[in-house]
Symmetry: C2
């Protein structure tokens, strides 16, 4: 049986498919295999969610055109083509942090692929205890719960996988090819367009669950805030026209799912190869602040996703954590 | 200011130090720097906790000898000589799992070194989703919250450190030298005397906190249960006399603290060296069930705590996770 969101998404799909034509309550009831009373309840619920659904006793229902299209779990579900990522969606108008909520849900047993999405975050979190600027109504803030059978050592690989999925998705919406910064930022023209915060709960040798938090600057104006001025970019501002959030989110889930399944079947080698294609740091000077500090020339990543740095002494150091900055080109 | 447990532990120390002599309320009040009313409240609380404290209006208080000594946070605190591990103690007569409770406390911000101790566990947990047999009144079940500044890759090292600390402590209470099984069991005469379950919450490149759960079979009779018959040992049964739990716990915290501080200062090399001294698997046939299965001859551990196995093909495999079994000697 479909859950409420799936049924309502199906109703919206039906109404949209019929454009300005009416769809009878009976057709909806038959198509979804639910009672007329259930149909009526869903229509009420969709109207409460902001959909302008006109009803006439004789002809049935019609969805009045509405712009902008709302951003909610019904929209995402109605546009989704995955079978794992996003099949369960927790949507919030406002939340402290999608990652915090997803960690909670995962502890309570939420399934592999469950996602949390928010219109805005009041305590958006980034890596290394930093914040993530999360104004409402303009960007994508989502966290994906994963339950891969991997040891914690492979978690970094999952972060690189996420960066690849985000970069590929950004690339489909932006004429400018994005780059990745090790391990997990996605940049357009050297400015941050997306960030990824991967958290996990694990034993020392197996991951219980991971939460991949993804923030993508879609339509905000980076110049409107001191936090983002000169360091952030948004796809919409780069393009000169807004990115439709539902479309972006569904594309991201779909691309992510493909990479996730690939990694479970073939390991992370294809992920690393794809990641290298988005990385422009090889041969550049790099500084890493972390448990220890390192400086040198970046040589790329190794077969386990660690950053390789040739130090002035000639030694090659393998970096598995820390905050990376490249000298400006 | 000392917390309640510390003050009550101090009172018990004072009374014990005076043996059959009385200690006046005024002396206690002066020694602890607290009011006479506070002294009286602590005496009531200690009596409620089962201490037989006799009071006489003129002479003061005397602690009636009592055997067995109770096992609680006052006893542990009064015998503790650490300055980090166990300075904050959460003691439970019965609990589902000390690790589950410690993970909760850590999420709420419990300090580095905080410990959870239980007299018995009703859902004691072991590695790989298994249970840990946890009858009340006889053994030690404790979880230590740690906040080391390390990446998740080093978490395995912390498990080996815990195994070393447990093995060293067991060795002080047992005439038979214990062995370790990779990564985290401690054995006496090939039977499990202690198990360690390390769990953590982390970002992909830094640990937020770890919880090291330690169960040690001190005085139970392994033959009394189907779960432990033929596979478990207890120190008390090996020795032919009971191990005092407070003494064991405090020794363990003290030994653990020394190794923990060493690792923070000098890295894990001394830990690995000590671990090797307790390991008797080198040269033996070994099978590992994990994400993939491996068989071969055990070569020991490498510089990062991974198990090295020479497969029949001659290839050397580096094992970072899984369930290890050695062929019987």
């Amino acid at each position: 049986m479909m859950d409420r969101t799936s049924q309502e998404a199906e109703i919206i799909r039906l109404l949209r498919a019929n454009g300005e034509g009416h769809v009878s309550g009976q057709t909806i009831s038959r198509t979804l295999g639910i009672s007329r009373t259930a149909v009526w309840k869903h229509i009420v619920s969709l109207r409460n969610a902001g959909y302008l659904i006109e009803g006439s006793p004789r002809k049935g229902y019609v969805l009045a055109d509405r712009h902008p299209v709302p951003f909610n779990s019904v929209e995402i579900t109605s546009a989704l083509d995955t079978d794992l990522i996003g099949r369960e969606i927790f949507f919030y108008e406002s939340i402290d942090s999608t990652n915090t909520k997803a960690m909670e849900l995962a502890r309570s047993g939420a399934a592999d692929g469950t996602v949390v999405v928010a219109d805005g975050q009041c305590k958006g979190r980034g890596r290394l205890g930093r914040g993530w600027y999360s104004p409402p109504g303009v960007n994508l803030y989502t966290s994906i719960i994963l339950r891969p059978a991997i040891p914690p050592e492979r978690a970094q690989a999952m972060t690189l996988l996420s960066a690849v999925a985000v970069a590929e998705t950004v690339g489909r919406f932006s004429p400018v090819r994005p780059h990745v910064k090790w391990p997990n930022d996605v940049l357009i023209a050297s400015r941050k367009v997306a960030g990824i915060l991967t958290e996990m709960s694990s034993e020392t040798d197996r991951v219980n669950f991971m939460v991949v938090g993804i923030g993508v600057n879609l339509n905000m104006d980076p110049e409107s805030s001191d936090e983002t001025r000169r360091v952030a970019a948004s796809i919409g501002k780069e393009n000169g026209r807004d990115v439709e959030r539902t479309n972006f989110a569904c594309t991201l889930y779909s691309v992510f799912e493909r990479w996730y399944k690939t990694s479970l079947k073939e390991g992370f080698k294809p992920v690393y190869e794809a990641w290298k294609g988005y990385f422009d740091g090889v041969g550049r000077e790099v500084r890493i602040k972390g448990f220890t500090n390192t400086e040198g020339i970046c040589l790329g990543i190794d077969g386990e996703g660690a950053l390789l740095v040739r130090r002035p002494s000639g030694d090659i150091e393998r970096i598995i954590s820390g905050d990376v900055s490249f000298s400006t080109l």
